[in-house]
Point group: C2
Chain length 205, copies 2
Amino acid sequence: MDYLYSKYLEQATEALGSLPGIGKRTALRLALHLLDRDLIEVERLANAIVLLKQHVCYCTSCNNISDKETCAICENPLRDHSTICLVENIRDVIAIENTHVYRGVYHVLGGVISPIDGVGPNDLSIELLLQRLQKQQINELIFALPATVEGDTTGFYIFRQIEPFNVKVSILARGIAVGDNLEYTDEISLSRSIQQRLPYSGSAV
Amino acid sequence: MDYLYSKYLEQATEALGSLPGIGKRTALRLALHLLDRDLIEVERLANAIVLLKQHVCYCTSCNNISDKETCAICENPLRDHSTICLVENIRDVIAIENTHVYRGVYHVLGGVISPIDGVGPNDLSIELLLQRLQKQQINELIFALPATVEGDTTGFYIFRQIEPFNVKVSILARGIAVGDNLEYTDEISLSRSIQQRLPYSGSAV
């Protein structure tokens, strides 16, 4: 695969192969697929990714991805603006929105503290969160960060930073997932779900 | 995932999701990754795929992908132009080239006969192959088509078409692959490798 018989094919394969999770072989397959498509479709894809990069901005309130200065969620008067759900990125916003049970607003950190990946607190939108807590009347901040060491570290760091604001802080429940068999559940999740057991209310929670 | 909070993100995700093997979630991940990249890198990717579609053509001799009228292999005087290896697509050319044992030229069919996918003989470069056999002095045609029903059908169809040219036709050996354990080899491959057993020459072939 050193020489692909076409400079253009080689360049397109290289560019596609720079995307995450796309190796050399997949990149070649994608490039050959694009060759079979109409020019207009290929141009549509090319334009879409350039427009994305040129026009998408971040909500000045919650740091979520948006086409305008304020995102659709922060603009929505029907949402509870006194409850903020703290998430790592927009994929988590989408995941929570898909549950249809949360009516508050979000704050998108843009990552979690991870020294290995060179991500420190200053790379995240923590300052923006503190400003928000200062300016607005916030009743509750929900930590919906990943259940990993990095997520826990980030949560703890922010918890220390927001102590002066005296805001109620909660965290997503951890325990066995719906559909899980106990025998396959990891020990930590299982032990947490025992320690934090809930009063039985006649049906599964 | 119905509404991605940004028209541009939605369009880019949709365009990326139209690529083969890339679902909605992966497309969103790729789009968000592109957002994190520099504009110049995103533009380089966009340009690469448009240039690919605009400039790549097919070799007028062997139907391989090329930047010029004749591909690098057909132009190479050191290759044996009297031996043609018949393959399905350019990926197979690359696979065979990587073995470094073949010094002849190729003929790229552009697919195999597959009624289910709506691919008939007229969609392949069979006419071009017949012209080649008519014009040039070809000693041997090697069938290197996929070892599938479609590959075998295509091979048989072409074999019938080229009968008048009286050219020697061979086919890639089929049998157990290097590194295979006999117990895991499928019955057809194993039975072929028994029927077509070779004289032992002191080392594995």
